[in-house]
Symmetry: C2
Subunit: 306 residues, 2 copies
């Protein structure tokens, strides 16, 4: 079925009536880099007034959910709580605690990545080592590193985007991964991430370095479109009904695929991020099509109040 454009009041009202929960991607939907997109605050306020549940689903692993709430308030989006936020680091923590045989009371985790990963893992009870430990900022010296030999209590490596990547972190992580009994999980596999003005290599590229060197299989990952992320959402909100949920995002191959694979009731593609309208007719992306689309999220508010 062709995607329906949200471009008049009646369509928007029917769209809103179809769902009781909206899951939002953030960058390219709510904001673009450091710039809030138009009528986002008004649209979120409208959803609240209509008693809709609003959740935010981001592949960003570098911040904890608590730290991520500050990003919302910095944009003037108030009253977002950490319980509304699902990041790939939180999804990873939920996955490891609930869907693996790891025991937080005795199994440690080696982290290749930033503090968001450490904080979320610690919040569900795991001890972590590595990650943002400043001793890893020192040059690699295999005779002197305090991080080797490997700690036999480490039963899992979690790897995410690490803008402090260096040879010391790579060498120690590699030596943990050489033991095939140590589990290996990636927060997400986005190969790039946008910066202003420059695009940057993403988590998935760093994962490839670790996977190649260690000769491991590709690890499971907890970022969109992986359903491990949606598992984390339904673990936190078991009362949600998939058919009453709508995923809102700006990327077909992550956000919209995430909603389709998860059998959510609908998906809204907004054209304020990486995609433009031509993606709806160019089917080279493999027939990933949303149920709805709009030029931008703020159109929901603008048409509703016309």
């Amino acid at each position: 079925m062709s995607p329906i454009k949200l471009d008049d009041k009646q369509t928007v009202v029917e769209f809103l009536n179809s769902f009781d929960t909206f899951l939002f991607d953030c960058d390219g939907v709510l904001w673009s880099g450091t710039h809030l997109l138009p009528n986002v605050i008004e649209t979120l306020a409208l959803l609240k007034k209509l008693n809709k549940k609003v959740l935010f689903v981001t592949n960003n692993s570098t911040k904890s959910r608590q730290d991520y709430t500050k990003k919302f308030s910095n944009f003037g989006i108030d009253n977002v709580t950490k319980e509304q936020i699902f990041s790939s680091s939180f999804a990873t923590a939920i996955y490891l605690k609930n869907f693996t045989n790891l025991d937080p009371s005795k199994d440690k985790i080696w982290v290749f990545g930033e503090s968001g990963i450490e904080k979320e893992l610690q919040e569900v009870g795991f001890s972590t080592i590595g990650g943002s430990d400043a001793r890893l900022d020192e040059p690699w010296d295999q005779q002197k590193t305090p991080f080797l030999p490997v700690d036999p209590e480490v039963k899992c490596v979690v790897a995410g985007l690490d803008t402090k990547i260096n040879f010391h972190r790579l060498c120690v992580t590699y030596n943990y991964l050489r033991d095939k009994d140590v589990q290996y999980v990636a927060t997400n596999i986005d190969t790039t991430f946008p910066g202003k003005p420059y695009m940057q290599p993403g988590c998935g590229s760093m994962i490839n370095l670790l996977t190649t060197s260690s000769g491991r299989e590709e690890p499971p990952n907890c970022g969109k479109p992986s359903q491990l992320m949606l598992d984390a959402v339904f673990k936190a909100y078991p009362e949600l009904k998939r058919e009453k949920c709508c995923m809102v995002g700006d990327r077909l191959n992550t956000d919209i695929k995430f909603g389709i694979d998860g059998k959510l009731g609908g998906q809204l593609l907004v054209l304020s991020g990486v995609e433009n309208e031509s993606c709806l007719t160019d089917l080279s992306h493999g027939f990933i099509l949303p149920t709805f689309y709009a030029d931008k999220l703020g159109d929901v508010y603008e048409h509703y109040t016309k």
Copy 2:
């Protein structure tokens, strides 16, 4: 034909009579880490006495050939000149100068890697940027980096092992690679390299990070077993006859494959490095077999002088 073991005088004499040039891998053949292997100096002296030509072929790109001669003299192996040494960084320089349309008088090269690459490229006339420039040791700040926007005179990225890998170097390199008109060459693709006591991620793993993030095709590489390395040898010594050359190494899938693919007269596998005798009967490596093998290089001297 089954590999012939060099374990008596007659076999060694026939082996030596079959070749006039010996190409040596270094680590695992001449030395192991910081430890010289037995009777290596004596074997090299014997080859010299017999008027054999001796060359050294290493995938190490971090040192220039001139710097690499010091490594030989530190082991007590004297009189090795830079003209005898073929490193993957030198092979890359020869490849770019002779086998591409790059013009050293105006085309610059962005280096992801260490000083050995810069020195060899500069020696054949190229201007390089990036590499060991200390400003790249600073944290990545896309607003402040002096390395972006990209220099339009850069027509090629050369990537090799970089133990100073950091996000700044990765981001700038990635932004050069995004332009598909910029050529992309790897010094070598070894996924790991040995250290004592710890194995370490190698050049090929870093190449995979760059290739994945930029969406580029896998680059050509100039390290063994790539024949671009052998092209550099024959460019420097056009008088060599392949059937009179013997490759000596400790790895089937790099050294011995290099000799076989290059149709050299013979290959000698020494078991003082990564392989042991079982590799000669375990054919899971794809039927790569040397013509000769020995427990160690020094056996040549020991049996010859019996």
